[in-house]
Assembly symmetry: C2
Homo-oligomer: 324 residues x 2
């Protein structure tokens, strides 16, 4: 009923009287008043005047189901199941629970704030309240676990397209899972899976996108390496619209991947990579490799050629691009 | 206290009086009586005579913590954490929950009965009450997810050794995850993992071993393909002792794997395989491959050479050995 009331007042530029709503849906004036209050609590600015009724002044830029699903142009993503959380430890953890309960591909979880946001290798991801897009998706691709690394690359291509389309921003991919603007990290992708040896149960993709942070919003230790869309563009960005474009673009590229395979996406990935063709230093658990990042293979591994022309195939590790 | 009472009565061949227990531990006679009754409920045969006291007649062959941990010769496995369940949907599912809560490597879950025991590819595994060993282990190996298939092979080698050591039975491994005696399936291994792209969060190994079933205990559709240790040996097998040897042998081979790597274990695997050197038919999701199973590679894949001498590397699929 709350959504119906929101729909009726948002579809009119004029005041809608409580009586009109009451007649249309057969609910009491008191019930309407309660739902309106609940909407105000969520962040909707609604004016109410005695005898005139209610008018929607402004929708909130909060990633509420109402907001994200209105005019969302996807076939499944977000529409399948959508979970909005005010706060959560980590959207990936929450998604894993839902996935193990059987929630379908295309399920989207978003949170306004993460108390324990995660990056790769159990690192922390700072996820301040209302400043970014902290979201996770449940996927159930019919691929072998060995190819799960491809999913991270597919998602990165989707993010690049979304940023380009919605904001005209040209971002770059740093292997394997970061999106950079002006060499600074604006987005991280964390892919996790539950699998048997030869079958994926589910894949969780977590995306953390810095949107409306100022420099001061970042802790000291990452101020030199992190950025936000607001810092890059010099203006506040509407998160609802950004998330909608992300869901649309990522769904498109993911479906293309499932239909046509990895090679097409890999080409796009390479075109947008800031790692390939660079001198890199790769810190691995047991060794450090220095050389030229020359390619990505079909499994998503980075191929590095060192000074002795030895080829290294890297699946794990931190890559530092050597400044020229 | 229950365990202390069990210890004191099991350490004596004579009757132990309630008074003696009461004095030793400072508990009331009523409390002792309650604990004794609880032990009887669990399956311990305890005689009690007025004025003489209590005497342990027989320990149950139930996979209770008391029973399994008594004289268990492992360093971690089972001792780390041990969960005994009368019934569970699937020990692997239960283990996954515990692992996601952070339970350590070496945690063992056993159930007397599984209502939804699982085989590979979501197939059912029949797990009748008290007839088999239905168990799962939590592992946290520091290996890449791409090598997780090795774990199944390591576990299979451990099972072969345990059957040989405890019963003198010579069993064979059918790639990738079945243990056969006389060409009939006696044990299945189901390996699942939770992982990031380049890091394993945890691995769950589930083992289902048919122990004391008669032929009639198996459903019609598997009577031709399944067997139990009792059927093979013509006598009841003590499950507690069998599980102890399994934990001991599997811990040994797993630790060897972590220390020395996969190659040594792979040799043992090959020596005990009934798949290698055979004409096989491999049913894969999209094709059927017929040829000779010639090797296993370092990732645990089966290598099959077909009639055109084309080499196929098989990670998934059902393997049928062609009868000669």
């Amino acid at each position: 009923m709350k959504n119906k009331i929101l729909n009726i007042i948002s579809s009119s530029a004029e005041y809608i009287s409580g009586e009109e709503i009451s007649n249309k849906y057969g609910v009491s004036r008191t019930a309407i008043w309660k739902h309106i209050n609940a909407l105000k609590q969520e962040g909707y600015q609604i004016e109410s005047f005695p005898r005139k009724g209610y008018k929607l002044i402004q929708r909130p830029d909060i990633l509420l189901e109402n907001e994200v699903l209105t005019n969302l142009n996807t076939s499944k993503w977000g529409k399948e199941k959508f979970y909005f959380l005010n706060e959560v430890d980590s959207t990936n953890n929450y998604a894993k629970k839902l996935a193990s309960e059987g929630k379908p591909e295309g399920t989207v979880i978003v949170a306004e704030e993460q108390s324990a946001g995660k990056g790769r290798l159990s690192r922390k991801w700072i996820s301040a309240k209302g400043k970014g897009i902290w979201t996770s998706f449940i996927l159930r691709p019919n691929i072998l676990p060995n190819f799960a690394a491809q999913i991270t690359l597919v998602m990165a291509v989707g993010m690049i397209k979304a940023l380009e389309k919605n904001l005209g921003v040209s971002a770059k991919i740093k292997w394997p899972n970061d999106i950079l603007i002006n060499d600074l990290k604006v987005c991280g992708i964390l892919t996790e899976m539950s699998a048997e040896i030869d079958r994926i149960n589910y894949v969780i993709v977590g995306i953390g996108l810095n949107v409306n942070q100022s420099n001061d919003d970042f802790p000291d230790e990452i101020q030199d390496s992190a950025t936000s869309l607001k810092i890059c563009l010099g203006k506040e960005i509407k998160r609802v619209q950004m998330l909608q474009v992300i869901l649309e673009e990522i769904e498109k590229v993911y479906n293309l991947y499932l239909e046509k395979g990895f090679s097409e996406i890999l080409d796009e990935w390479k075109n947008n990579s800031c790692t390939l063709g660079q001198e890199v230093i790769v810190k691995m658990p047991k060794e450090i490799i220095e050389g030229m990042a020359i390619d990505i293979d079909s499994g998503g591994c980075l191929i590095v050629k060192d000074k002795e022309n030895i080829i290294h195939k890297i699946i794990a590790g931190d890559v530092l691009v050597r400044k020229k």
